[in-house]
């Protein structure tokens, strides 16, 4: 109490007329917000511990609970907003760097919401996906710039390694450790069922999941955790993580508390030791070093796997991507500044990087200007929230999208943004067995498959409306997009016209 006391951000509102004191809320809250008062015969709550994850709300059988924003606030001030002041109190108390989770919540422009999609009227017909074939299949990888023939004139069909997706969406990197075994199991099973890929993140690949290798991207990041020959061989593609949209320029830190049991074994580090990924790869201080790592990984896997280089969207992303394209990478993944994380310094998450929409448009155009767009595939991530975001990203020039936050939401995440606590009540961002158990992979897999199936249907509807029956004909098709409420500079970077033009 006293100077350090900050009135809780949320209040637990319990409707006493409905509460039957079944104590489900109490049993389900790992933050110990709820308790049963035997003397009074009613449920009590300690809202100082509440993170607003909505687990109790979702499970209350009589809908007796709701969590509301506290109205106990400081005097309103447009400059010194409540959150800003609270952060100062916290730092004055702790002297520490503030940590946050999931994506940037600040009110920066969401360009997806300022872009509109075209549809056919009169001059060409829209296509009904229920009646006509509608193709969402994509192949990622380097395409040869010349068709070559043998002496008989037959086309030589050897191609650089490609990955094949039933739809242009993949689950992006989330490590085993930052998320639970059951979350990984759900992603792996769903990717396999859907004919797409999921990504191990920098935590290695649990031995139980090698069987999903054909649908797995194995990641190599700056800490090299869990990387060994069998791991590289296990996946369909290898991703070098240079950066992450939520925290460009810094590495990762998985606290020792989460390095337990199989997590420690899979990462190949001792139990209880912090897993600290350095900010840079210490063998990559420049682009020529990246080329060496790309080719080392290709050598190690006999040129059978495409290599993805993942970078955070930063100011000079177009030039960086061009360098990556020339460094032997088969695929470039760009992660925008709204991308999620299990933990990042708040200041970095909220202030570093640029929006994926602008980064993607700039990179796609630069690679075309340089005539090398066909030598790499582009994957866009960093807050792709819906099928229409996917369609817009493809039309701006992406070959496919990475989604992670949307996938976690499908698994039950309620975006309380406290992953760093390790007490995820939904069994996702936790390693505590009794919490991990809350995510049944059977349900998880089913919900992910449902989500992607729904998106695929919506993508097909949108494509059909535009008179396009193959996703390839949408890629980079920027005339299918128009901006609303954007200034000329923004339109120029996005390479689209304003609505009405």
């Amino acid at each position: 109490m006293g100077i350090d006391f900050i009135y809780p951000e949320f209040e637990v509102v319990r409707n006493e007329n409905r509460c039957i004191a079944c104590r489900v809320c109490e049993r389900q809250c790992s933050n110990e917000v709820h308790s049963f008062s035997a003397e009074r015969g009613i449920m009590m709550s300690d809202e100082t511990k509440c993170v607003n994850c909505q687990r109790c709300v979702s499970l209350c059988p009589t809908r007796a609970l709701k969590i509301v924003k506290s109205n106990c606030t400081l005097r309103e001030n447009a400059n010194w907003q409540n959150d800003t002041i609270r952060e100062i109190y916290k730092q004055a108390q702790s002297g520490g760097v503030l940590l946050s989770s999931m994506g940037n919540p600040k009110p920066f422009p969401v360009y997806w919401d300022k872009i509109l999609i075209n549809a056919s009227q009169v001059t060409n017909p829209s296509i009904d996906p229920l009646r006509e074939p509608m193709e969402t299949h994509v192949t990622l990888g380097k395409k040869p710039d010349r068709v070559r023939r043998d002496e008989q004139g037959n086309i030589l069909r050897e191609l650089p390694p490609q990955i094949s997706l039933s739809m242009p969406v993949m689950f992006s990197a989330m490590s085993y450790g930052s998320i639970s075994y059951n979350a990984h199991a759900s992603l792996a099973r769903a990717a396999t069922e859907l004919g797409i890929l999921y990504n191990t993140g920098e935590g290695g690949l649990h031995e139980d999941f090698y069987k999903y290798g054909a649908n797995t991207i194995v990641q190599v990041a700056s800490g090299r955790f869990g990387v060994h020959e069998d791991y590289l061989e296990a996946g369909a593609a290898i991703e070098i993580k240079m950066g992450q949209g939520a925290k460009p320029g810094i590495g990762g830190h998985l606290p020792g508390a989460k390095i337990v049991g199989d997590v420690s074994k899979t990462r190949m580090i001792p139990e209880g030791s912090d897993a600290i990924s350095p900010a840079p790869h210490h063998d990559i201080y420049s682009i020529e070093d990246l080329r060496q790592l790309v080719y080392s990984l290709k050598e190690a896997t006999e040129y059978q796997k495409p290599v993805i280089v993942k970078v955070a969207a930063v100011h000079n992303i177009a030039a960086i991507a061009s360098g990556i394209a020339r460094s032997g990478a088969d695929i470039i993944a760009i992660d925008g500044f709204r991308g999620g994380t299990g933990a990042a310094p708040t200041r970095i998450r909220d202030n570093v990087g640029i929006p994926i929409e602008l980064a993607l448009a700039a990179v796609d155009q630069r690679l075309r200007d340089e005539g090398i767009r066909n030598s790499v595939s582009l994957v866009a991530g960093g807050s792709i929230r819906s099928a229409s975001d996917v369609v817009k990203a493809i039309a701006l020039g992406a070959d496919a999208c990475y989604i992670a936050t949307a996938a976690l939401l499908a698994l039950g995440c309620h975006l309380c943004r406290t992953c760093q606590s390790g007490k995820c009540n939904w069994g996702i961002a936790t390693q505590q067995p009794e919490l991990v158990r809350r995510l049944n992979p059977e349900t998880g897999c089913e919900r992910l498959v449902n989500l992607m199936t729904a998106w695929r249907r919506e993508i097909m509807e949108l494509m059909g409306g535009m008179g396009i029956n193959s996703i390839e004909a949408l890629r980079g098709n920027r005339m299918m997009l128009r901006g609303v409420g954007l200034n000329q500079k923004e339109l120029d970077i996005l390479g689209i016209s304003h609505a009405g033009e």
Binding site: S120, V122, T123, N124, P125, I127, E132, P133, E135, H137, V138, T139, K143, P144, R146, V147, R149, N154, I155, R157, L159, Q162, R368, G371, R373, N374, G397, M466, G467, I468, N469, S470, E472, A473, L474, R475, G476, N477, R478, M479, M480, E501
Partner: protein, 367 residues
């Protein structure tokens, strides 16, 4: 025209009529034959563009590139000639003869040159002659205001104008040309400031394309093909299809059928069902390597080239196109009526399936 922008500054969707005729034994047919085909399809045009391409029409200059140009003024023609002389020997320079008719007005200066690339230039630029011609055409069309090359092949020529196609035929006195193949186009743009260069056929070197449709993949195709030195100045489907064909056939060395399989690629489900392993793998290869050259949305096109024509529909067959035959001649048109206008006793009429190329070549050694 007030504030209305010129063609090329914005995209114009349009519907159209197309027709073509080819003589397999290389018999040269007068141009008014193809012009006749457009009369029954009058309703498919709206007077905002018509044109023709004839092959084998300049036998006396068969070894020279025939450049047809529109100029806004004498000055720009002089400027253009100076540029051409840097790279080419001009063996003939003349106005293209036209007939004054009330239906066609506001014509620009319409000129043609027969040129041969200078060997010294080819050596110093390290280009083959077709590439030099192509680059020069791109250069004039993108950089020289008031000059526009609308035909650039050998022993072939394009004739186009703002007007109904049958009037355009009379305007250019097509009866005075004879070719072994002809293509024709009548345009129905939804809006246009009426620029002569915007009429079809669209050509590059000896490739000419007449097209009916509005492709939905346009910008995906355009942004891809522009990586390889092509500049889409008109923002029309026909232009981009011409460049795609040039890229696939001339640059990548694909056959006509292979190029058709890229542009109107079979569905993946069809490829998977293909029983012949070689064919299946080849189709999968072409789709994987050239995904950005798949053309979707309705189209029927006739691609003219030296020694032949290829007709192709989009893979869903969203535009009409019929083929007819009589003796050694093959006719193609948006409507059967157009074929019957050229040959009332046509035999064997059929509608090719979506994505199925119809390739007709003149017998070897004839042209």
């Amino acid at each position: 025209m007030g504030k209305m922008r010129k063609e090329g500054q914005f995209r114009i969707p349009s519907g159209c009529a197309i027709a073509a005729v080819i003589s397999r034994n290389g018999e040269r047919m007068p141009g008014d034959l193809i012009a006749k085909s457009m009369e029954p399809m009058h309703e498919r045009s709206n007077g905002l563009g018509g044109g023709f391409a004839g092959y084998g029409i300049y036998p006396e200059y068969r070894d020279f590139y025939a450049l047809h140009l529109f100029f806004d003024s004498r000055d720009v023609r002089k400027e253009c000639e100076t540029l051409l002389k840097e790279y080419f020997e001009i063996v003939q320079s003349e106005i293209i003869p036209t007939r004054k008719i009330p239906e066609i007005t506001d014509e620009p200066i319409i000129w043609r040159y027969f040129v041969a690339p200078l060997n010294s230039m080819l050596r110093s630029l390290q280009l083959d002659e077709k590439e030099l011609v192509a680059r020069t055409v791109m250069k004039i069309n993108t950089e020289m205001k008031g000059a526009y090359v609308f035909s650039s092949g050998k022993n072939m020529g394009t004739f186009k104008a703002v007007g109904f196609p049958e009037d355009v035929g009379r305007f250019y006195q097509l009866e005075n040309y004879a070719g072994y193949s002809w293509t024709a186009h009548g345009r129905y743009p939804t809006n246009t400031p009426g620029w002569w260069g915007g009429a079809h056929p669209f050509t590059l070197l000896d490739f000419s394309v007449v097209h009916n449709g509005e492709i939905s993949s346009y910008d995906a195709n355009r942004r891809f093909i522009e990586m390889f030195g092509y500049k889409c100045t008109l923002l029309t489907d026909t232009e981009v299809i011409t460049y795609i064909m040039d890229y696939l056939i001339r640059i990548q060395g694909l056959s006509m059928t292979e190029a058709a399989n890229v542009v109107a690629a079979p569905f993946w489900s069809t490829i998977e069902r293909e029983w012949d392993r070689e064919e299946r793998q080849k189709q999968a290869y072409l789709r994987t390597v050239f995904p950005s050259l798949l053309v979707t949305g309705p189209f029927s096109i006739v691609l003219g080239f030296t020694g032949g024509i290829m007709a192709l529909n989009d893979r869903l067959k969203l535009r009409s196109m019929v083929v007819g035959e009589k003796d050694e001649r093959v006719y193609i048109a948006s409507e059967e009526a157009a074929i019957r206008a050229m040959e009332p006793d046509v035999e064997k009429i059929w509608a090719p399936a979506g994505g199925e190329p119809v390739i007709i070549r003149v017998k070897e050694g004839v042209c």
